[in-house]
Subunit: 685 residues, 2 copies
């Protein structure tokens, strides 16, 4: 071993392990637990992080119950509801081999827990063994006597009625005037079994570690986001306001979105303010970047005076909710040099040797209009409390959805603490992590609490890329904690395939985002108006709204608005598109991507085919995975294209499809057959 | 949720979880740990059970170090040797993405531990950032000053020499008379980096849970077992003795075995003794089953008087060891009705309602010559101590290898406690679990401490069955804790393919066992003399030695002895066969099974081809996985058949093979090329 050194004294001692080979070991009372609970599922990282579900989901919990020998084993699923002190109990069912399962409905938002309890069942062991002896014609007098003793032991743990039942059963077992088989049968009858099941001896039962399930609103899994800059919502030439945004709500609702996401609405700093197109020096009328938060007018708990007031925001939130829309605020935990925090709490920032405050940098790049917080500086605990307070402040104002800017540049432990604490008070709060960074860091943020996450979809284009990426996201372990939100564009990203794309390219990316992922969003009106003007050499919009006000003609004839309205309606009306139970189907043309999705109960199936080539018509065959469609091998079914309203009759595993980007580069077929049940499907087959 | 009930009061309370959604949470000091250690490997069940290795292995430990942002991360592997109090430390190396790795040699038998320590490295962060600023021509005066402060902080943690080095470096950074780039370079020079590396600030370092590695003797991974009944070792018509076994040692050594395993050598009960062929009533001269342990002469700590004395056993152990052979005792934790325990410790047995002791049964089958122990009865703790004492007793007599009979009918927790305790005193003790039961139970026994395990190999015959089974066993997670021991036959099992098989069938099963698994064994002389006489309707030997003495003619012309000698020599001389790093190679004939194995250092490779049809010659092509052979795409290499001594020249991915069972149904080729290194191989490719 190279360069070994003892760790310095400052190292905390490692915990001592059992059986560390350093001496004789006493017998632990835990050694009386004969059943081992293994491979408990679902879990994230062996139980270190919560599993995520939405309200209304049925959670299937399963585990191996491993024990020596042949004695009967019994198990229970313990469930604790969000505010409950009590654990509810239901029996585990044997699935196969030593696998056991039980499921429960999470019908309330909040933090649930489940655990497994397992024990040896002496009565079932006795019942089965004695039955075999009777069948083999063996003498069972002693066995019946042993059964009577056993029932009396159960009776001692039972309530009064149960004890009566059990003692009578014991007496029958001991009644030598009856035939052995009858004595056995009466003691093993359903009422006796029920009474026995009520009072197992759990002293030596094994209890698993509890698993936490964070149950979110349905919106956590199924949401359609529309991002817009409030200051661009006004009449041309005027700084938009939150009231203008309120006036825009019917438009957003008509497009079918249910989350309206606004970039930061706070006062914007003056110092080192950026001009249009990220120019280093702003003119006196330049509005600056909303992410340079804080000025004399206030900081993260204030509304930019030109946008309006907190009352305006609350009115917007209320009006939006009437239209089925949640307003999402953008929380960027950083300060402009003019933020009140800078003077009130200099200890929250990193100071350079000359006493100035350290601005953000990613050498050699500098962001002099932004001061990062020093999350581990002298004032770290009060800083964390204050930052947590920002979320609470807006929750108190009615906001429940937060898009968090660059969470990956803030400590992971901060998010674990902050999000859990916010959700303890506001369990329906939803956090979208805007992190485009190393995959493991993106996953860690999701494990630590973020409800939804941005993804790499924005850059995934080919059939192979999309298939691989979506397959990975849709399966455990990721599907248990990472909820993807697919965006074809954002104010930060105008991808090349849109910059140089035609109308079909926009439609294709819209349909892919909206059908491959149950959560998706667009940055508008840039998207529906197909803004393609890019800054030279950058994957970014020219005249970016991040730095200036833009005026958009929403009534333009070529707007994608009608198609977006249709796509969002199809999503709302088809439960299969509201989850990510996806199966890819092979095609004989690499430009044709085919996949199906189904609802958790199997009642709804949608088959999507997208022509990934936005310039040429493609036709070919899809090799249908009929099991994934819930369709029999020779069964005819109707495929109703919900985009074109055309109806096809398909039968067997070969389906011919033809997609012309001039018309529409995608089909979203509702698969219509007889009523389906969950058992008809191979999940992710 | 169906039939919910609160658990009875006897249920221990579940532990409270952090962030249980029940109220505001304080900030934990642990929140200062910025680096998250994830996906630590190797581990078994997330660290619940030890990882197994043998002495001389190099253990590669790896993990993800996930942290926010872009700051540099550093990590160390901490290793604790078996008897040490101190943890040794060595740096982790970046592998790819956020994966880090370090390896260490386990050069001592016993229980090792390793853990990961990880932290943010402010000096490396400073060094890299400042370099980029210098390269971009930016002013770095403040950065150099910040670097000087940082070095002074390191100096405060350093020893005297280190502090001098670091303070001088700080002074150079502050020396305004020098050019910035030179000041940077001198502060980032190798001696300074070395001094910095000696005194990181570990106050906020993250420490993983420690992982236990049980390091066994090499024999745990590579062993060749020979099972024989001592009482059959005498001259015909005479009860064999341990001295007869000692006289048999040269024969066993000449066959090339290194473990000699004896069925129980203890006094045998008289009550309900079984006669030949498991007859219910033994005659006065019948010897009984050695597994019906205990009589007036003693129990588990005694030697059967007709076999000899404890001194004879000790002499046998000594003489065997001189020949490179370990004697393995069979420990069966059960008693005959005549065992001294029955009268001395009735509380160790289960009593029936009439006061008699419960014999073993698996309804409707009864085993009236055997009393099982009551592992959780009134006297359970003293029973466990006594049973543990049996292993210690024989360890004190020099025995180090135990074949444990039916461990799966004794509590898992007993084995975890017992084996760990024995190994705390005798770290080189080796336990083979004779469990043919549910796979998860077999795996649990291995996780809980058994060194080696019997397997389903005995019944696996087809190419598909063998490929699937061996592949599963050879890879993590199983390969980290489950060490297979392949047996073509045992006294309990004469499989049909041997019962109805010819000589080639025996050869085939021998070669498969000896090459597919680094641990294997045969029950002899039944195997080498190809005993095929089965009890009618049972997969079991007629005139089974379990119930009677047999006499064997070891000199028979048709004995497989010479071939066994050759196979064991090939195993000893080829390190590739002493581990289970296996790759299967496709063949165009389902009767041809082809696989290669390599040594951990990649220096040795063996290619095995077996004709699974013992009646017909098969010829065909093997599609060689050249990477697994460590051979270049167009490189010619020699394949030297160590069984037939024929040499072939192979080149490219197609190899023609031809195997005639009349001659030999298998080839074991040594692959000979230029010197190979570990990097030439795709593991398990």
């Amino acid at each position: 071993m190279a360069s070994h050194r003892s760790p310095p004294a400052s190292l905390p001692p490692l915990p001592r392990l059992p059986f560390s080979g350093e001496g004789p070991q006493d017998i632990s009372p835990a050694a009386r637990r004969r059943v081992f609970v293994e491979a408990l599922a679902p879990r994230v990282d062996g139980g270190r992080y919560p599993v995520k579900r939405v309200v209304g989901d049925r959670v299937s919990a399963s585990c191996d119950l491993v024990r020596d020998g042949q004695d009967a084993v019994a198990g229970a699923l313990l469930v604790r509801r969000p505010a409950a002190r009590e654990w509810l109990r239901q029996p585990l069912q044997s699935v196969a081999g030593e696998r056991y399962e039980a499921s429960f409905l999470v019908d309330e938002i909040g933090q649930w827990q489940f655990a497994i309890l397992a024990w040896i069942d002496p009565f079932e062991t006795w019942r089965a063994g004695t039955r075999k002896k009777i069948d083999a014609g063996q003498d069972v007098e002693l066995d019946l006597a042993a059964g009577a003793l056993l029932l009396k032991a159960y009776a001692s743990r039972a309530d009064a009625a149960g004890a009566d039942t059990l003692r009578s059963a014991a007496a029958r077992l001991e009644d030598g005037s009856l035939v052995a088989a009858d004595r056995w049968a009466s003691a093993a009858s359903p009422p006796i079994l029920a009474a026995v099941a009520e009072c197992p001896d759990l002293r030596d039962a094994t209890q698993s570690e509890p698993v936490v399930i964070v149950v979110d609103p349905v919106r956590a899994r199924f949401s359609s986001w529309y991002e817009m800059f409030p200051r661009s919502a006004g009449a041309p030439g005027r700084h938009g306001t939150l009231r203008d945004v309120a006036a825009r709500l019917p438009y957003v609702a008509s497009l079918g979105f249910d989350v309206l996401y606004l970039p930061p609405i706070h006062p914007i700093g003056r110092t080192a303010r950026k001009g249009p197109n990220n120019a280093p020096n702003a003119g006196p009328d330049d509005v600056g970047s909303p992410w340079a938060i804080g000025g004399p007018e206030g900081g993260h708990k204030s509304v930019h005076p030109r946008l309006g007031t907190i009352d305006d925001l609350q009115a917007l939130v209320r009006k939006a909710r009437e239209l089925g829309i949640e307003v999402a605020l953008d929380i960027a935990l950083q300060a402009s040099p003019d933020h009140p925090y800078v003077t009130q709490h200099p200890e929250w920032f990193l100071h350079r040797p000359d006493g100035t405050i350290q601005y953000a940098e990613n050498p050699p790049k500098r962001y002099e209009d932004v001061y990062p917080f020093d999350f581990y500086g002298a004032g770290w605990e009060s800083l964390w409390e204050e930052l947590h307070g920002i979320f609470v402040f807006w929750c108190e104002k009615g906001v429940r959805v937060f898009r968090v800017d660059n969470p990956h540049t803030k400590p992971l432990a901060f998010w674990e603490w902050c999000i859990a604490r916010v959700k303890a008070a506001y369990p329906d709060a939803l956090f979208l992590a805007e992190a485009f960074t190393r995959p493991k860091l993106m996953y860690a943020l999701a494990k630590l609490g973020f409800t939804q996450s941005y993804t790499y979809f924005t850059w995934r284009q080919s059939k192979r890329e999309l298939t691989d990426y979506v397959t990975t996201l849709a399966r455990p372990p990721l599907s248990d904690f990472y909820r993807p939100n697919f965006w074809p564009n954002t104010p930060d990203i105008l991808p090349t395939h849109l910059e140089f794309g035609n109308r079909a390219a926009f439609v294709q990316r819209l349909v892919l985002a909206a059908t491959l992922s149950s959560n998706y969003g667009i940055y508008g009106p840039a998207f529906e108006l197909m803004d393609r003007a890019a800054r030279e050499g950058a994957e970014e919009y020219a005249d970016n709204e991040k730095y200036q006000i833009r005026s958009w003609d929403l009534q333009r004839q070529d707007s994608l608005g009608d198609l977006i309205t249709l796509v969002n309606r199809v999503r709302r009306e088809n439960p299969a598109l509201q989850d990510n139970l996806v199966t890819f189907h092979p095609t004989d043309d690499d430009a044709l991507l085919a996949f199906s999705k189904r609802s958790a109960d199997g009642a709804h199936v949608v088959l999507v085919v997208v022509n990934l080539d936005s310039h040429h018509r493609h036709a070919g065959h899809v090799a249908l995975d009929l099991a994934a469609l819930g369709v029999g091998p020779d069964e005819a079914f109707q495929a109703h294209d919900l985009l074109s309203d055309e109806r096809h009759r398909f039968q067997g595993p070969q389906a011919y499809v033809e997609l012309d980007p001039e018309f529409l580069p995608a089909s979203v077929f509702a698969v219509r057959r007889h009523l389906r049940t969950e058992q008809d499907f191979d999940y992710y087959s």
